[in-house]
C-alpha cells in the first residue's frame, strides 16, 4: 500500500490529494497548520488553514489565496479526506489528519498538550502514522505548571513595580506574548507592548480572544506615565537599542525571558536576564510521549528537535520510528525563537 504522505524537498506531500502540508518551497497547494514563520511561508498557489489561524496568516503573508476550514470539518481533496484538529500550540493551530483508502496519517505541526487557556486544547487523533515534532524531545524538559508560572511571573513583576522599575519580558510575538498578558495580574500595573507583539495581539483581539488591554510602545509614548509597567517584547528586542529607554540609570529594568529553553540553567545564564520563565508552546518530554501514545499509531516520524535520540527512544519503546528532516526551526538554533 502506498504511503499517505511522503517527504519531499518542498515539504510533506500527499500524492493522493496533490497537496503539501507546511511546505517550505513554493507549491500549487498548501495546507497550513499555523501562522508561525517556519510553517506558513509566502509564495504558495492556494492556501488552506483553520478559520482561527487565518487572520494571523493573512497578517503575515498579505494578499494570498486562502480558504478556511473549521476544526473537525472534513473536506475531500482529490482522493484524500482532510480534516484539521486542535494542536494546542497557539490560537487556531491545527494538526492535519489525512485519510486515504482507510489509512489515516496525522501531521502534528507544533503542539503542546497542556492547555494555555487561549489556544483550543490539543486533541489526540487516532491514526496509523503520526508525524510529530520533538523540539523538546529529551527527558530534561519538564514544564512548570501554568498556575505556578503565573504566580512566578506576577511576583517578579510586582517586585519590580514596587521599586518603580519596568519588568521587561522577552516572549515570542505569536503565542507566548499573549500567554504572558493573559497570565499577568492587571492590578499590578499596565502592560506595554513592542510593536511586533501589539500587531499580532490586535489581530487576535479582533478575532474575539479575551486579551487584556495593552499599550503600544511608540517613540512618543511617555514612559513616566506608566511606571512599573510590564513590557512584552520579542526576545531579540531585549538586547536591541529599543530596550534602553526602559533602563534609566536610576532604576534599570529587570529582564526576563519566557521560553522552554529557560529550563536549562546554562541557557538562562547566557541570556544574562534576571529571570527565566519556563514557558513553551511545544510539548515537553512527558507531553510528547503521552501524545504519541494517545494516537495509537505504530509508525512515528519525528521532525524538528532532538530527532535522533528521540527516534531511538521510541524504537526501544516498540514503535516503528523514523527521522524526517524538514526545514522547520530545529535544535539549538531555535534558542532565540522556538516557533
Amino acid at each position: 500500500m502506498a504511503d499517505v504522505l511522503t517527504f519531499t524537498d518542498s515539504g510533506i506531500y500527499c500524492p493522493a490529494g496533490d497537496f503539501y502540508i507546511d511546505p517550505w518551497r513554493p507549491v500549487p497547494r498548501a495546507l497550513i497548520t499555523h501562522g508561525h514563520a517556519d510553517h506558513a511561508r509566502g509564495g504558495m498557489g492556494r492556501y488552506l488553514s483553520t478559520d482561527g489561524a487565518a487572520p494571523v496568516i493573512r497578517h503575515r503573508l498579505g494578499e494570498i489565496d486562502l480558504a478556511t476550514i473549521r476544526y473537525g470539518e472534513t473536506r475531500r481533496i482529490g482522493e484524500a479526506e482532510v480534516s484539521f484538529h486542535p494542536a494546542g500550540h497557539v490560537p487556531g493551530s491545527a494538526q492535519i489528519r489525512v485519510e486515504v483508502k482507510g489509512q489515516v496519517w496525522v501531521v502534528s505541526g507544533d503542539y503542546k498538550v497542556v492547555s494555555d487557556g487561549l489556544s483550543e486544547p490539543f486533541e489526540p487523533i487516532p491514526c496509523h502514522a503520526f508525524i510529530t515534532e520533538c523540539t523538546f524531545g529529551l527527558p530534561v524538559f519538564k514544564w512548570t505548571a501554568p498556575e505556578r508560572l503565573a504566580a512566578d511571573l506576577n511576583a517578579w513583576w510586582a517586585a519590580a513595580a514596587g521599586q518603580g522599575r519596568f519588568a521587561l519580558i522577552g516572549a515570542y510575538s505569536l503565542g507566548k506574548a499573549q500567554r504572558v498578558m493573559a497570565a499577568a495580574d492587571a492590578s499590578i500595573g499596565p502592560i506595554l507592548t513592542h510593536g511586533a507583539v501589539e500587531n499580532v495581539t490586535e489581530v487576535l483581539r479582533a478575532q474575539g480572544l479575551p486579551l487584556p488591554a495593552t499599550i503600544r510602545v511608540t517613540p512618543e509614548l511617555d514612559l513616566k506615565a506608566h511606571p512599573g509597567a510590564l513590557v512584552v517584547a520579542p526576545p531579540a528586542a531585549l538586547s536591541a537599542p529599543w530596550a534602553r529607554r526602559f533602563s534609566p540609570a536610576s532604576a534599570p529594568a529587570t529582564t526576563g525571558f519566557a521560553s522552554g529553553w529557560m529550563a536549562l540553567r546554562g541557557v538562562r545564564r547566557r541570556r544574562a536576564a534576571d529571570r527565566g520563565f519556563v514557558m513553551s508552546d511545544h510539548a515537553d518530554w512527558a507531553g510528547l510521549n503521552d501524545a504519541i501514545r494517545a494516537t495509537g499509531a505504530e509508525r512515528i516520524f519525528v521532525t524538528h528537535g532532538y530527532t535522533s535520540p528521540f527516534r531511538r527512544w521510541l524504537e526501544e519503546e516498540g514503535y516503528d520510528a523514523h527521522v524526517v528532516s524538514t526545514e522547520y526551526a530545529g535544535e539549538g538554533e531555535t534558542e532565540e525563537e522556538e516557533a
Binding site: 524538559f141 519538564k142 536549562l264 536576564a273 534576571d274 527512544w313 539549538g332
Partner: protein, 541 residues
C-alpha cells in the same frame, strides 16, 4: 535547605551585583549559624570533597527516571552540567522536606561511609524529598561540583552588611585553612582575637593590567620591578612556625619544604609577599615556568625534583615586621625595610630580593620592559611609592605592564561545544599551521572571542560540519585566528613538536586568507628564540 536554595536562585538569576549582595545579606541575617558557616565555606570555594563517583550517580538517576543510560548521556551535553542533568531527569519529588543545609552536608558524609546498597537508598530517598533547586544543590555537593557566580569579595561585603563588621576585617578573618568542622560561626566572625591564628595570611593585593601609561603621572612617583613568572606566595613566619599561602588561599607550605630554612634566618613576626620561582642557583636566574610547574601538582616532593628545580621566594613586599602590620606604611618604606632584612641573609637562604628596575623616565622603563623575555620575566610591575598595601584587586597603585603576547595566525580545523554556560555554543577549537600542503594541529584555544563571535562561529560550524567524532566536529579550513600565547616549549606529545602556554584567541582574522596562515617553520623559529625544554608531563600539565 529552602532558604539556601532561594539564595542560590537569587544570586544565580540576577546579573546585578547589588541584588546578589542584598540576597546574601538577607540570608546571613536569617539562616541558622551552622548553615551560615557552610554558606561562607561553599561561597569561598571550601567544598566538601567528592566521595561518590559520578558514574554510579548517572546510573542511579537514569534508573530512577526510567530512562536508559544512553538517553541520560544524550541529555548531558545539552544541559552541560552533570548535577543539573540528574536533577532535571528525575521525577518530581514525592513529598518535599525542609532540612537545613548543614543537615544535608552531614547526610552526604554519613552516606559516603555506608556500603553501596545503603548509600544508593539514601541518595534516592534524598532526591525524592527535594524540590528542583534543592535537588540540584544536593547533587552538586555530592559530585563536589558546587560553584556559584559570586566572588568572595561580594560575599564578604554582604557579610559586612549583615554583621556590621568592617569588610577588611572580615576578609582577613575568612582567610586561612578553617573549615566548618574546625570553627564555629562566632569564632570565625565575631571572636575578639583574629591574630590568634598564627597561620592567617593577609589578603593579597592584586594588580590590574596597565591601561593608560599617560595617566600615571611622573615616573619618579613609581617604583618598577620585573614581573616574575612564578607562583604568587605569602610567607608567614610567626611563633616559630612557617606557612606559605597561594593567592588562591591554598596552603603550599609542604610543596616547597626548602623555604622552611627561612625560619633560621628571619625573625618571627615576619610576613613577606613574593613570587615562588624555580631557581638556577649557579646562574642566579629563574628556571623556566615549566620547571616550577612540576612542583605545583605535588603535595610532597621527591629528592630528585628538589635538586632539579629548587624553589626560592623572590621577595617584593614586607607586610608584617616584628609582629606589626605594615600594610598602611607607604610602599617605599616597606621596601626599604625589606631590603635591609634581605641584606642580612646569607646566599644559601632561599630568598632573593626582587631588584628594582632603575629608570629615570617612562621611555627608559619601556626599554627595560622590552628586555623582559630575555630575563625570564613577563614584563614589569609598577608600584606607586607612597601606596599602602590594599586588599584584593584595586585599581590605581599597582599595575602589571606585561610584554605583548607571542602570536601566530592559525587555521581552525576542529570545534567542540563548551560546557556549562556555553553548552550550546562551539567554543573549544583546535588550530593548525601549514607544513607544506598539510595542516598540522598545534594547539587548542577556547577563550578570547566575544559571545556574538562565538554565536557566529557556532552557526557556521553547524552548517559546515564535515565529520563528527563524538563531541568533536571537523570543519573545513576556512577561518584564520590570531592565537596569542605566553610561552612555547618543545613537546614530544604533540604532533607539531611544540606546546604553548596560555593559548587564546586574540582576533578572528576575517581579512586573512587561509593560505596566508603561519607555518610550522614559523613556530619552530619561535621555539628556538623563546622556547624552553620539554619538562611537563601529562599528569602535571
Amino acid at each position: 535547605m529552602k532558604h539556601f536554595a532561594a539564595l542560590f536562585r537569587a544570586v544565580d538569576q540576577t546579573t546585578k551585583t547589588s541584588a546578589k549582595v542584598a540576597a546574601m545579606a538577607e540570608y546571613f541575617s536569617i539562616a541558622p549559624d551552622a548553615d551560615k558557616l557552610w554558606c561562607v565555606a561553599l561561597f569561598s570555594g571550601r567544598r566538601p570533597r567528592r566521595t561518590i563517583t559520578a558514574t554510579v550517580l548517572r546510573e542511579w538517576a537514569a534508573e530512577r527516571a526510567g530512562i536508559p543510560l544512553w538517553l541520560f548521556e544524550e541529555c548531558y551535553p545539552v544541559v552541560g552540567d552533570l548535577a543539573e542533568t540528574i536533577s532535571l531527569v528525575l521525577p518530581p519529588p514525592e513529598q518535599e522536606t525542609d532540612r537545613p543545609l548543614s543537615h544535608w552536608i552531614a547526610e552526604i558524609r554519613r552516606l559516603s561511609a555506608l556500603p553501596e546498597a545503603e548509600r544508593k537508598a539514601g541518595i534516592l530517598a534524598a532526591w525524592d524529598g527535594l524540590g528542583p533547586t534543592e535537588r540540584l544543590l544536593f547533587t552538586k555537593l555530592l559530585t563536589g561540583g558546587f560553584r556559584v557566580g559570586v566572588s568572595q569579595k561580594l560575599m564578604t561585603r554582604a557579610l559586612a552588611q549583615a554583621t556590621g563588621q568592617e569588610e577588611a576585617e572580615l576578609t582577613h578573618r575568612l582567610m586561612g585553612s578553617w573549615t566548618p568542622e574546625t570553627v564555629s560561626w562566632d569564632s570565625l566572625v565575631h571572636a575578639p582575637d583574629p591574630t590568634a591564628d598564627l597561620s592567617r595570611p593577609y589578603p593579597f593585593y592584586l594588580a590590574y593590567q596597565l591601561e593608560d601609561l599617560a595617566a600615571l603621572g611622573p615616573a619618579s612617583d613609581w617604583l618598577a620591578e620585573r614581573k616574575w613568572d612564578g607562583i604568587r606566595g605569602q610567607l608567614i613566619l610567626r611563633g616559630g612556625e612557617h606557612h606559605l599561602w597561594s593567592r588562591g588561599e591554598e596552603l603550599m607550605t609542604d610543596r616547597f619544604p626548602e623555604l622552611a630554612r627561612l625560619k633560621d634566618f628571619l625573625p618571627p613576626g615576619t610576613v613577606i609577599d613574593g613570587e615562588v620561582l624555580a631557581w638556577n642557583g649557579a646562574a642566579e636566574e629563574p628556571l623556566s615556568f615549566n620547571a616550577l610547574q612540576k612542583r605545583i601538582g605535588r603535595k610532597t616532593v621527591p629528592k630528585k625534583l628538589l635538586a632539579e628545580a629548587p624553589a626560592i621566594l623572590m621577595a617584593y613586599d614586607l607586610l608584617e615586621w616584628q609582629g606589626a602590620d605594615l600594610r598602611q606604611t607607604p610602599f617605599a618604606e616597606r621596601r626599604a625595610l625589606l631590603e635591609s632584612a634581605a641584606a642580612e641573609l646569607p646566599p644559601e637562604a632561599p630568598l632573593r630580593l626582587s631588584p628594582l628596575v632603575a629608570a629615570e623616565s617612562w621611555e627608559g622603563l619601556a626599554g627595560e620592559r622590552a628586555r623582559s623575555r630575555e630575563l625570564m620575566a613577563e614584563g614589569l610591575m609598577l608600584k606607586r611609592r607612597d601606596s599602602p598595601y590594599l586588599a584584593g584587586r584595586k585599581k590605581g597603585d599597582w599595575w602589571k605592564w606585561k610584554v605583548d603576547p607571542l602570536s601566530i595566525d592559525a587555521v581552525m580545523i576542529y570545534a567542540q561545544s563548551g560546557s556549562g554556560r556555553r553548552a550550546n555554543l562551539f567554543t573549544d577549537f583546535t588550530f593548525a599551521v601549514w607544513k607544506g600542503e598539510e595542516l598540522v594541529p598545534f594547539t587548542k584555544a577556547y577563550s578570547g572571542l566575544t559571545d556574538a563571535e562565538f554565536r557566529q562561529i557556532t552557526a557556521w560550524v553547524r552548517r559546515n560540519t564535515l565529520q563528527k567524532f563524538g563531541p568533536v566536529r571537523q570543519v573545513p579550513p576556512q577561518h584564520v585566528f590570531e592565537i596569542g600565547f605566553e610561552g612555547i616549549q618543545r613537546s614530544t606529545r604533540h604532533k607539531s613538536g611544540v606546546a604553548l602556554r596560555f593559548p587564546r584567541m586574540l582576533r578572528w582574522r576575517h581579512d586573512k586568507p587561509v593560505a596566508e596562515a603561519n607555518t610550522l617553520a614559523d613556530l619552530q623559529t619561535m621555539l628556538a628564540t623563546y622556547g624552553g625544554p620539554e619538562t611537563v608531563t601529562e599528569a602535571e600539565a
